[in-house]
């Protein structure tokens, strides 16, 4: 009589083999040079290990060798889809160290720019998310409208992606002629378009099947992983630095903090994260309307720019709401013209770290969906 052990010894155990898939750094839907090492059992993913750093450009090392104002173009290149927000938050951190107040007009322009940037960034996120689940047309719709935001930026400061517009203490240029009118035209044009995205993508049955109940991120896990921005709000946490820690002049505007509500499945699924972005664009439009109405006509945008930036010894941690979440700068100054240490706490870095938690157990197709719903930008993760 043969025992089971003998059978095993003679023939080996029949087992399924795990396959290691290497997704990226060159892959259509890793949104840059991200590499995911995926262990799969058939189509089911058992674990995901992100490998980052393919876009590491030594931002923090650079900062230690540049003066404070020279850092600003480098912040552009970190999150290249939300350069205005990066400029804004970095400049505010340095201003806080220096104790500079900026004029009303500068604050308004900064808010306008940041909110336009948020629309542009969310448009890209929404469009590429459609691409990730296989819908190609929403992508071009979003890019059509993003183009108009970029045109506004180009009109303002000459650059379409990397602006270097918001400076410590002020701005590089005043607003060009008729900017207010063009911006107004844009938001009037743009607001109805949000419904267009909803019609083509958000309420599409297949899209809901693909994203609803997929990659559910519970609120506690999101907080523990330091997720922020739409990723955190998609899980139902009402947390927005613009409302909860008002910086700049955000306390003057009336807007809603959008949270996910589990409409198409569980709370915190990919659909929620996606839809938070879509609705946030509407809120940004609301802020833009108010800001454009309140924008002072006159004023010098460069009057508060310091001649020499030498913050006193000390350190500061300042954070603000970039389109991707809490963007923080931890700056240590030793009283010289160059920062002693700049640490950028990038939202996408923390948002990405949650992927194994919410992605394991889903299928390969879902990994792409989940990754898309996190809306990462590798320039910011790798810095």
């Amino acid at each position: 009589m043969t025992t089971k052990a003998e059978v095993v010894k003679n023939f080996g155990v029949v087992q399924t083999e795990e396959m290691v898939l290497n997704m990226g750094p060159q892959h259509p839907s890793t949104h840059g040079v991200l590499r995911l090492k995926i262990r799969t059992d058939g189509e089911i993913v058992s674990s995901i290990e992100p490998h980052i750093g393919y876009l590491h450009r030594c931002f923090e090392k650079h900062c230690e060798n540049l003066s404070y104002e020279q850092v600003i173009p480098f912040t552009d290149r970190c999150d290249y889809l939300a350069s205005m927000a990066n400029n804004h938050i970095y400049s505010m951190a340095v201003e806080k160290m220096l104790g500079i107040e900026v004029s009303e007009k500068v604050e308004y322009i900064r808010v306008i720019m940041t909110e336009l940037q948020r629309i542009a960034s969310h448009l890209l996120a929404v469009g590429t998310f459609g691409l990730d689940v296989g819908g190609i047309t929403p992508f071009t719709y979003c890019f059509r409208d993003r183009e108009r935001v970029l045109d506004l930026f180009e009109y303002t400061c000459g650059a379409r992606l990397l602006y270097n517009y918001i400076w410590v203490g002020g701005l590089s240029h005043d607003l060009p002629l008729n900017f207010r009118q063009y911006a107004q035209e844009f938001i009037d044009y743009f607001e109805p378009k949000i419904n267009e995205y909803n019609r083509i993508l958000t309420y599409n049955k297949i899209f809901i099947e693909r994203t609803g109940d997929v990659g559910v991120l519970p609120a506690e896990v999101a907080i523990s992983y330091g997720c922020s921005g739409p990723v955190l709000r998609g899980s139902g946490v009402k947390w927005d630095l613009r409302r909860d820690e008002p910086y700049s002049i955000y306390d003057r505007f009336d807007f809603e903090v959008i949270t996910g509500d589990g409409q198409m499945g569980s709370l915190g699924d990919c659909w929620d994260r996606y839809f938070v972005r879509v609705r946030e664009m509407g809120e940004s439009v609301k802020i833009l309307r108010q800001a454009l109405a309140g924008l002072p006509e006159k004023g010098d945008v460069q009057e508060n720019i310091p001649k020499k930036i030498r913050p006193p010894k000390g350190e500061i941690y300042f954070r603000g709401e970039s389109p991707r979440g809490d963007l923080g700068f931890y700056i240590i100054s030793d009283g010289k013209a160059k920062p002693y240490r700049v640490k950028m706490r990038s939202p996408a870095f923390s948002n990405l770290s949650v992927i194994n938690e919410i992605g394991a157990g889903w299928m390969i197709s879902d990994i792409v969906t989940i990754l898309g719903s996190l809306d990462i930008v590798l320039g910011e993760i790798d810095r």
């Binding site: 892959h27 296989g134 190609i136 047309t137 071009t140 693909r210």
Partner: protein, 374 residues
């Protein structure tokens, strides 16, 4: 009923200068003469369909599409036919590309893979008529022949995916095999329904029946449902969105064709568009009256007087079947550029838990319908 091949053989056999018993020569000549029009048709179809796909997608995406490349100095300008030479330029580029074979690939199978897929599509055209008597070879098991031959294509896809020695390709091949085998069933079942009603597997008989009665799309609610199931499953069989999981570009890079380039890749491309044409032609013939004029079909459906000239006749037939097929191809493109993609398990769900039960029930109900009303 004569077919192209029969006429050719008769013609060649009757020629005075052809020696007696020269079966080999006649065989080869007939094969070549038969293959040429099919090949030309496939190439032309791919070219036109690619151009159409580009323009349709551009139209749906608020873009212009190809606008620059003219042909023979003719440029359409900023009109619909602008960039008319784009596909020619693409084809030339594709054929001029380096044909790479990965070092670790199984060379023989890597090369043979696309040709099996191509061969299947090619052979399928032999049985499909594009007008009354306009068929390469008229089989008396027409529908069954088409289903049988087109089921071979999947082997080409699997081999291509496996031989590439690339994990993405393997995934694409696995998905593709599962998908094609699953969707063959609803396709077959919805065709079975038509065969039941007509009592013949021949395409000509099916169209004749529709000429005498009415189009199958309007025949009964069950045949209309069968048309939907057939067309949707057909779209799935040719791997187009929302069923394009084997090549899902955002997940599997390019699925089973990841490692292919240049000429071999264009063979895949050609077959894909040929398969689209096959599905569209079959739907048109079986459910939409084939080469019958829609005007005549419409009036006969409602038993109206035949009072008008319905634009019927052999050449009008080719025109009508082309119009129907192009309309169906347009629907495929429309769907592709509008909807996202299903997940593999959802795709299987649709096949096994929606299409197949409905198709089975359909067979039963159409039987009752025919007994009571037929």
């Amino acid at each position: 009923m004569t077919s192209f091949t029969d006429s050719l053989i008769e013609l060649l056999g009757g020629l005075a200068w052809v020696p007696e018993n020269a079966a080999g020569i006649i065989f080869v000549t007939v094969s070549v003469l038969v293959a040429l029009p099919v090949f030309l048709f496939m190439t032309l179809n791919a070219m036109v369909a690619v151009y159409m796909e580009r323009k349709v997608s551009a139209f749906m995406q608020d873009r212009l599409g190809p606008m620059e490349v003219g042909i023979f100095g003719f440029k359409g300008g900023k009109r619909f036919w602008g960039g008319i030479g784009q596909t020619v330029a693409d084809a030339v580029k594709l054929l001029g590309k380096e044909d790479t074979i990965p070092g670790e690939a199984d060379r023989a199978l890597f090369i043979i893979g696309p040709f099996i897929l191509f061969g299947a599509a090619f052979a399928t055209f032999i049985g499909i008529p594009i007008g009354y008597g306009l068929v390469i070879s008229d089989f008396n098991i027409g529908i069954f022949f088409v289903i049988a031959i087109s089921s071979i294509g999947v082997i080409g896809v699997i081999l291509a995916g496996w031989a590439s020695n690339n994990k993405w390709s393997l995934y694409g091949a696995m998905r593709s095999a599962a998908q094609m085998i699953s969707y063959e069933l609803p396709v077959g079942m919805s065709l079975l329904l038509v065969v039941m009603v007509v009592g013949s597997l021949q395409f000509h008989d099916i169209v004749m029946w529709q000429e005498q009665h009415r189009w199958f799309l309007f025949h009964s609610p069950f045949t209309a449902l069968a048309f939907l199931i057939f067309f949707a499953s057909g779209v799935a069989e040719v791997n187009r969105t929302p069923f394009d999981i084997p090549e899902a570009e955002s997940e599997l890079v390019a699925g089973y064709m990841t490692e292919y380039s240049g000429f071999r890749w264009s063979i895949f491309f050609l077959s894909e568009y040929a398969n689209m044409a096959i599905i569209a032609l079959m739907s048109a013939i079986i459910f939409l009256g084939g080469w019958l004029s829609p005007l005549g079909g419409l009036f006969r459906t409602f038993n109206l007087e035949q009072s008008w000239y319905f634009l019927e006749g052999p050449w009008w037939g080719v025109f009508w079947i082309s119009i129907k097929a192009i309309a169906l191809i347009f629907v495929m493109m429309w769907v592709r550029w509008t909807w996202p993609r299903l997940r593999p398990d959802q795709l299987m769900y649709v096949a096994w838990k929606v299409f197949i039960p409905f198709a089975l029930a359909n067979i039963f109900f159409v039987g009752i319908w025919e007994l009571l009303l037929g």
